[in-house]
Amino acid sequence: MTDSTRRAGTVDGARAVAPLLIGVIPFGLVFGIVAAGSAVGPWLGGSTSVIIFAGAAQLATLQLIDAGIAGAVVIATALVINSRHLMYSAALAPHFREFPAIVRFTLPYVLTDQAFAVSIVRYGDVNDPVYKQWYFTGAALTLWITWQISTVVGIVLGAQVPASWSLDFAIPLVFLVLLVPSIKSRPDLIAAVVGGGVAVAAAGAPYGLGLMIGAVSGVVAGVIAQRVMR
């Protein structure tokens, strides 16, 4: 009974994220190519896929280190980017409460936007904690393995790509693909416009704080917009 529930959960979770891999693979390849050209070095840069395992933060980290930004600012910026995981953790906590303690401490390592998105939808329809645990595991591990493989392939490819191909332009393109679906309401749009606009205006800010100033301004603008429009 439990065995078949585990298997069903794992397979369903993996199936649910399969269509999303179309977005994950090119992102991982681009990240690997960036790591290959980074001053950090391809393998330390690539190791962020295991150590950090959050694509946007990984790209920003390498970009900021390459730009010679101070460590504290790089860390703060990456953690602001990843602060959205607090929201995912809060939403998943009531479901994860029923999992064994060891699992509650290990599974969050593989938490991602995509694993969160498919799981929280499925959790609305099912109650069995064993199924829930393995559904998340199947989804999250599929993403983890795909991310590691595409990072390594990207690093290998990146060593062959000449700079004249402007492949670094693929970085903002990947962010653009993530940005568009994140705008679901007018306050979201205002957060994006202000975030982008202030980041451009603050690009010359000392210590490489421009990105963080832009991001925080965008968040504040979104909160105000939501208050005003309600």
Partner: protein
């Protein structure tokens, strides 16, 4: 600070953010004043990552397709991202646009 130390700190910090409510804060629910801003992190951060990368050239806003083909190419990519939400289509179209502009202008 070494690059490795920076990366490890971000890795540990990111794990703790993911663990927060699941493993540490447990039954507590997040208050609204904390939850609402988090909803805007994705659009604000992603726009803050994209805009300077495509609009700035040598530190100044440059929208000319001749000197900064990335701005126009990004606009093409934005339209495709909006219409299709297909990552590969966006990357291919954006890269093709930037190569074409570089070759033609």
């Amino acid at each position: 600070m070494t690059d490795l130390a920076i990366i490890l700190t971000i890795g540990i910090g990111t794990y703790l953010l993911r663990l927060s409510f699941i493993g540490i804060l447990g039954d507590r629910t997040m208050p609204d004043w904390a939850m609402v801003p988090l909803r805007f992190v994705a659009p604000a951060v992603l726009a803050a990552l994209v805009a300077p990368a495509v609009l700035l050239k040598d530190g100044a806003v440059d929208l000319s397709p001749v000197t900064n083909p990335r701005a126009l190419a990004a606009l093409v990519a934005l339209l495709i991202a909006w219409k299709t939400k297909n990552v590969i289509a966006v990357i291919v179209a954006g890269m093709a646009a930037v190569w074409l502009l570089q070759a033609l202008l």
